[in-house]
């Protein structure tokens, strides 16, 4: 077993530092020592965790990108991003080098049909501004802008049928 591994885990936007110790079954959570026993459960990716004898049942329910896990625990859903100490160091280095403007693409959350576009290419939009209306499962859903920025390009037009994950539009921050 590889020990002394240290991880930074962001759970629902709060950071926790997890450090596994040499002695098996021991871990530091934010510096506090916890005895734990984590057993893989019958369905894959389900775990039974006993931590200082408290019992938790959880399932890793998706893996959006490396280190990003969606986790289900006793009725609640969590997003956890795990970064090892080494990865964190690299990330800080890159950040320090300065990467300013962010941009990205917004994808269709499910298959459906584009009913209407509210703005034009090149428009500046506020955060949360409705960009287009998509009909899916017989309901109309508003697709909104995740950031304040400029709609740099539409990949669809009104009347298009789109697949899940298909790019709807590109947006760049100002």
């Amino acid at each position: 077993m590889q020990n002394k591994h240290k991880y930074t885990v962001n759970v629902n936007e709060t950071e926790y530092v997890i450090q596994f110790l040499d002695s098996p079954g021991e871990v530091l959570v934010n510096g506090e020592r916890v005895r734990f026993d984590l057993q893989l459960e019958t369905p894959p990716d389900h775990y039974s965790l006993l931590a200082d004898n408290k019992s938790y049942l959880l399932a890793i329910d998706g893996n959006d990108s490396p280190g990003n896990y969606r986790i289900h625990m006793m009725g609640y859903d969590y997003e956890a991003e795990v970064v090892s100490a080494r990865e964190a160091y690299l990330r800080d280095f890159v950040r320090a080098a300065g990467v300013g403007k962010s941009e990205g693409v917004v994808k269709a959350p499910m298959p459906g049909k584009i009913v209407k576009l509210h703005v034009n290419e090149g428009d500046d939009v506020a955060k949360n501004k409705g960009i287009m209306v998509m009909e899916a499962m017989k309901m109309e859903n508003e697709i909104r802008s995740p950031i304040a920025g400029k709609v740099s390009r539409f990949h669809v037009q009104s009347g298009d049928t789109v697949e899940k994950g298909q790019i709807l539009f590109e947006i760049s921050s100002k």
């Binding site: 885990v9 959880l58 289900h72």
Partner: protein, 506 residues
């Protein structure tokens, strides 16, 4: 009693009807579309026949195919379930025209009640109170503007043929009227093949309370008490209960009388539901009548002990109602939570994908009506309801605590569900006090509260996530495309999420 019944539906309601048939010694015939070959209703029925491609318009909505299967299989009656053709008067007539028994109300009653405008005028004649509104469908924006001024804002635009909240818009001020009207019409056209909408006074913070009625073919009509259905998102019910925490014996008698009058006024037979809005002064207004079994019928079954599908079959086969109004006693309290494949944390965005693991809770007072199984996919073709979880308790407090316990035990992976929302509701003070109305989701629900604020639990999630990451154990890498529902912008997920939450609050 019939020897064989065809169920013109799929999912949990088809399973529900098949079970009632089996318990009565009646053979059941399922129909299925191409994607439903191994769906639960096909596995459990006595017989099953293919009826075409996945889109409902080419299978479950094609009356001729279904009637043809009924004739070929030797079924004597058709149970339509809810949704699909269940409130289609043409279909009901065609069924009868093919010498089959329609397990539902007379086609004329369906047609009358299917038109909300016609239903309103019949109710007014029968002395059942209705919400003020336009007598007929609206022709154009001008007319809408005129009526809205007359009734006074806020007004509600509703599809005349509508149901399930589709084609419905609240308009708070004149400037919103045009866009809402256009959008409601589009949705109504798409959902009900009819762009006709009408206007109604929008009652502020009403409660949505409905009465289950049963009428036999011999003129007897009773009601089985009420269901409280005020907890809705997108005008669609998500948590229902019986009895209503608002109810008093006097109000039940008064509203029950209205419900029975409503059924009588349209010559009703078999199971139906009369929906009312109840305002803050406990005045009730007829809203609409659903001429079929409701999704939420189990809560009535749990408190009356009666099997409503069994009753439907008895009545359709010509028997008299075996109970009079005095025989109906309510026992305890039942709550239903609809488990939808929707992300509670993302404004109830429907989530498609494959159910990777499914283990519903069990034990005392818990009833699960599942429509799908582990390994099934939630497709875009049909309703994203996974199951209905019902908790019964001696009293409302016990039922609430039991439901919360069951929701916490419910294990499902592969899609996001309404379970976190359900736990929120069970823990919400207004809900626990019975002090809520149809504005509950807008007023009380803050998606931020779904983010469990227990540091202890977050630490445990962090621990497990770190361990999982460290071990390099990972679920199949194609899960990303298969099961995510979150509209993501590269590297900006949490930003988007925040917005999703805020948007939900308006």
């Amino acid at each position: 009693m019939f020897n064989k019944v065809l169920i013109a539906n799929r999912g949990e309601i088809a399973v529900r009807v098949i079970r009632a048939c089996r318990e009565m010694g009646v053979k059941s015939v399922a129909v299925y579309s191409e994607v439903d070959r191994t769906s639960l209703h096909v596995l459990l029925a006595d017989e099953a026949y293919p009826i075409g491609p996945a889109p409902a318009s080419e299978s479950y909505l094609v009356a001729e195919k279904i009637i043809d299967v009924a004739k070929r299989s030797g079924a004597e009656a058709i149970h339509p379930g809810y949704g699909f053709l269940s409130e289609n008067a043409h279909f009901a007539r065609a069924v009868r025209g093919a010498d089959l028994t329609w397990i539902g109300p007379p086609p004329d009653a369906i047609a009358t009640m299917g038109s909300k405008t016609e239903a309103r005028s019949i109710m007014m004649k029968a002395g059942v109170p209705v919400v003020p509104g336009t007598p007929e469908g609206i022709r154009d924006l001008d007319e809408a503007t005129r009526y809205a001024e007359e009734i006074g804002y806020p007004v509600l635009i509703k599809a005349a043929m509508g149901g399930g909240g589709k084609g419905m818009r609240v308009v708070h001020e004149p400037s919103e009227l045009k866009e809402s009207l256009d959008s409601a019409r589009r949705e109504s056209e798409s959902a009900f093949s009819s762009p006709i909408v009408f206007l109604e006074k929008y009652l502020e913070k009403p409660r949505h309370i409905e009465f289950q009625v049963f009428a036999d073919n011999h003129g007897n009509i009773i009601h089985l008490g009420e269901r409280e259905c005020s907890i809705q998102r997108r005008h669609q019910k998500v948590v229902e209960e019986a009895p209503s925490p608002l109810m008093t014996p006097e109000l039940r008698e008064e509203m029950g009388r209205s419900a029975v009058e409503a059924a009588r006024a349209c010559g009703y037979q078999n199971a139906g539901t009369v929906e009312f809005l109840v305002d803050q002064n406990r005045n009730h207004y007829f809203l609409e009548m659903n001429t079929r079994l409701q999704v939420e019928h189990p809560v009535t079954e749990m408190v009356t002990g009666l099997d409503l599908v069994r009753l439907q079959l008895l009545i359709a086969s010509g028997e008299k109602l075996p109970y009079s109004q005095e025989d109906i006693k309510l026992n305890g309290h039942a709550i239903e939570m609809r488990i939808y494949s929707e992300d509670s944390m993302e404004n109830f965005l429907p989530s498609t994908g494959k159910i990777r693991y499914l283990k519903p809770p069990d034990g005392f007072g818990i009833r699960e009506d599942a429509g799908i199984r582990e390994g099934d996919s939630i497709s875009i073709f049909y309703d994203p309801m996974i199951s209905k979880l019902v908790a019964w308790g001696q009293d409302r407090e016990i039922a609430i605590r039991r439901m919360r316990r069951a929701l916490m035990e419910y294990r499902i992976t592969g899609v996001r569900t309404t379970i976190p929302f359900g736990i929120f509701v069970m823990e919400n003070a207004a809900f626990r006090e019975g002090n809520f109305d149809t504005s509950f989701v807008q007023e009380e629900f803050d998606v931020e509260r779904l983010v469990e604020r227990s540091k202890e639990r977050e630490m445990m999630v962090a621990l497990a996530a770190a361990w999982h990451h460290k071990q390099g154990q990972s679920i199949s890498s194609n899960n990303h495309s298969e099961s995510t529902t979150q509209p993501g912008i590269n590297g900006m997920q949490s930003g988007w999420r925040k917005i999703g939450r805020k948007a939900n609050l308006r």
